[in-house]
Symmetry: C2
């Protein structure tokens, strides 16, 4: 599956969240990562994030695309991250 | 179509970008909006954004889902935006 992860977390925890996510996903923009991920790694990623964030204060949204066949990605302006595996 | 829009723009332009996006989409998290949008409105949104941002400095990524049938959305922690139309 392909996932898009966006996070809005307290500054104290941002580096840890980013470091964790980068183990599994590609950084594409401030607070946004994306990439193909296996079910097993997806479970690991979610449990690692759950241990880092403060659930009353921080927010992590994960969009899960079981296929990218019906989706596209457009950029206006700068492409900050590396080449996306999306297309 | 359903779109997820994430932006990373210079502070001077953030309010204008947010105000423009909110005309068409739902705010769900810092720098992230989502929602159903028609082709016509999608064109209008992109041209309005193009007029606001500095393309050498700012980055707007739009994920386009022609159907949400093959996708899901999970939240870890706080749900900051309103109820999503996603599911």
């Amino acid at each position: 599956m392909f996932i898009i992860l966006v996070y809005d977390v307290n500054e104290k925890r941002v580096n840890k969240v980013l470091k964790t996510c980068r183990k599994y996903l590609n950084w594409v923009q401030n607070s946004v990562l994306e990439g193909e991920i296996s079910d097993a790694n997806f479970k690991k990623l979610k449990s690692e994030i759950s241990r880092i964030i403060n659930k009353d204060e921080d927010s992590v949204i994960i969009y899960i695309l079981r296929t990218t066949k019906y989706s596209d990605r457009e950029i206006i302006g700068l492409e900050k991250g590396g080449e996306s595996l999306f297309v």
